[in-house]
């Protein structure tokens, strides 16, 4: 089925999902909609579970119906190169040198896009996939956690990842 068409169907499912959740007395745990080949499924955290921060007003729960769709964007459309280790992130091979990559650059899978220093060891950070650099998410010389997104990529169209 063509992407566009699929998109429309999913759009429909999403609308239905939002209406549905709005109609129902919450807290809903899971919603699953299927139309032919297309399936939409949303599952919420247990509102009773401490998973939510105290700050987060529980009243908001129903409102979150729309969230998944919204949130989906960055997660699905914007992959990122992540830190392989805890350490300090460097954009360039050495102080003053040119950064490995800048916004707009195209990167190949395996290309070095930065360095994370840990215990005086320099760990090269390599792109796992091809794409265009849309944002550098961490400043040069800043501490990073394991698996922290460092560089946001825009996948190359048609590229399957």
């Amino acid at each position: 089925m063509a992407d566009a068409e699929a998109e429309q169907v999913l759009d429909g499912l999403r609308r239905q999902a939002r209406k549905l959740v709005a109609d129902l007395a919450g807290p809903v745990r899971r919603v699953r909609l299927r139309s032919g080949e297309s399936v939409l499924e949303v599952e919420w955290h247990d509102p009773a579970a401490p998973a939510q921060r105290a700050a987060e007003p529980v009243e908001a729960t129903p409102a979150r119906a729309a969230e998944p769709a919204a949130r989906a964007a960055p997660v699905i459309d914007r992959p990122a190169v992540r830190s392989p280790v805890v350490g300090t992130f460097y954009r360039a091979p050495e102080p003053g040198a040119m950064p490995f990559v800048a916004v707009g650059d195209m990167v190949r899978p395996g290309q070095v896009v930065g360095i994370v220093e840990a215990m005086k060891l320099m760990n090269e950070v390599t792109a796992g996939q091809a794409g265009r650099v849309v944002e550098v998410l961490v400043d040069d010389g800043k501490p990073v956690e394991y698996d922290q997104p460092l560089i946001a990529l825009e996948p190359v169209t048609g590229q399957d990842w």
Binding site: A51, V85, V86
Partner: protein, 505 residues
């Protein structure tokens, strides 16, 4: 006191250390794997750093990442909790090299005590009674046969690098010895990269009694009484109590004194546990010294009123002990039950999952240490200890009744989730246990259908149930011991094969 301490552990013990820090006004850094990103210790920490993926060997056993996280956050000390890196001398070394205080004994003391034959030699020199057997390791089967003949069968062949009940084989007759000797060495080589073994008399019907000691870096030390941990399944403790019941006061006093003397003789610092086997005649036989805070430390805290984790931090900071032996007075009886997500009906197979319901007990003289909460996903990646329920009472009977009351009101449920609570309550109802006549054979007896010759009360052996379990089992290092809270060696040291690989995922 330190301004900031890094907690290099997870689960209930990470929370335990965090609480001690809070109460001392020390800021906390909790390092965690991706699997624990939303765990309670992480949420309650002042700072949290993700150091690796779920697999322990790349997160909680990742010394480099932990030290780097300490550097980033400016932590001055590292508390390793139990298991994981808590008894890894190399890690303690690395901490020191990087200007971090490791909360535990000096590295050289840790490595000396980690080698059981060295530890035995040191302790026997300090006057601690060893089980009859060889002090040094035995490079040839011939020497093993000599020693075995001397001490008499059954004997137990133990790996020098073993411990926590791992890497040992029970041998009932001279005929079995050569094969058992060979297999134990082979298994030890695989598990510990060290195939040295020694032989000692196998004590079939004994109690596991341990002494809590606390030593500072100025040569001072106190003992905080005894614990009985005889309720074990394959060397995994299920129920622990303080003080050790039904022993003559003289026995208790002696074992406590020699334990402290032994610890001080090797320059031990911090909180440590000296383990003994006590036979029917109340003869005490030294087993090993543990250099970490132990899972069962709460029962000692409840009978002494002393916060052991706070004392660990004071000692690590260099503060002289604030206690003299005369300040340590024991009151009443405390009993702790470990609540593991395991299925006793399926040979205690791990039974993790999402906790739909989680309501721990409360009320008078009842303490719960747990990282669990409603909605928590118990990860299959780690040890199955979910909670510890400990109670205090003026006497043992009242404590047992109180513990049963508390366990009865503990509400844990979720798809696929099973706990050891029902089994623990079975133990509490056992006449031998209630009368404190039980030994390390108790659990095996409860798990094996009763036979006519089996004594109804008391645990006079089917020796099979005693430490070392069955030869077949004993020869394979018990992986439970490996990742278990009391495990001494990293997960990665366990052969990642067989029905237990789930632990190494």
């Amino acid at each position: 006191m330190f301004d900031k301490v890094l907690i290099a552990n997870r689960g209930e013990i990470a929370l335990r250390v965090l609480r001690a820090c809070r109460e001392l006004g020390v800021r906390t850094v909790v390092v965690h794997s991706s699997a624990d990103a939303d765990s309670l210790p992480v949420r309650l920490a002042d700072e949290a750093v993700r150091i690796g993926p779920a697999a322990s060997r790349r997160s909680y056993l990742n010394a480099a990442a932990i030290v780097e996280a300490a550097r980033q956050t400016g932590a001055q000390a590292v508390h390793p909790g139990y298991g994981f890196l808590s008894e890894d001398a190399d890690f303690a070394e690395i901490c020191a090299e990087n200007g971090l205080v490791f909360v535990g004994p000096p590295p050289q003391v840790m490595s000396a005590l980690a080698d059981k034959s060295t530890a035995r030699a040191l302790m026997s020199r300090a006057g601690l009674p060893l089980p009859p057997g060889s002090v040094r390791t035995l490079p040839t089967v011939g020497e093993a046969q000599e020693v075995a003949a001397d001490v008499g069968y059954p004997v137990i062949v133990k790996a020098a690098a073993g411990g926590g009940g791992r890497g040992m084989t029970v041998v009932r007759s001279a005929a079995e010895l050569p094969r058992a000797y060979a297999r134990t060495r082979a298994a030890a080589q695989v598990a510990f990269g060290d195939d040295r073994v020694y032989v000692e008399r196998f004590l079939a019907d004994a109690r596991h009694v341990e002494v809590q000691v606390l030593c500072d870096s100025h040569g001072n030390g106190v003992h905080l009484g005894t614990r009985d941990c005889s309720v074990q399944r394959r060397h995994q403790k299920l129920i622990e109590e303080a003080p050790a019941p039904a022993l003559r006061q003289a026995t208790v006093d002696t074992v406590a004194e020699v334990a402290l003397r032994g610890a001080l003789s090797v320059g031990f610092t911090g909180a440590g546990t000296v383990e003994f086997l006590v036979d029917e005649a109340e003869r005490c036989h030294f087993l090993e010294i543990n250099c970490r805070i132990q899972v069962e430390h709460p029962v000692t805290e409840m009978v002494t009123g002393i916060d052991l984790v706070q004392e660990q931090l004071h000692v690590a900071y260099g503060t002289p002990l604030r206690l003299r032996q005369s300040d340590v007075r024991l009151h009443g009886v405390a009993i702790e039950c470990r609540v593991n997500v395991e299925d006793p009906d399926r040979d205690f197979a791990p039974a993790p999952g999402r906790l739909d319901r989680f309501r721990p007990p409360g009320g008078p003289f009842t303490r719960v240490d747990t990282h669990g909460h409603a909605g928590y996903l118990v990860s299959p990646h780690y040890d199955s200890l979910l909670a510890k329920v400990a109670v205090w009472a003026p006497d043992r009977d009242a404590a047992l009744d109180r513990l049963d009351r508390a366990l009865a009101e503990f509400d844990v449920a979720g798809p696929g989730v099973r706990t050891t609570i029902p089994f623990a309550r079975r133990v509490l109802r056992d006449p031998a246990f209630r009368a404190a006549r039980h030994t390390t054979a108790l659990v095996e007896r409860l798990l094996t259908p009763p036979t006519d010759d089996a004594p109804p009360n008391g645990d006079a052996p089917p020796g099979d149930g005693a430490p070392g379990a069955s030869p077949a089992r004993g020869v394979v290092p018990d992986p439970r011991g490996a990742t278990g809270p009391d495990g001494r060696t990293p997960v990665s040291a366990v052969p990642a094969a067989g029905p237990t690989t789930w632990r190494n995922r």
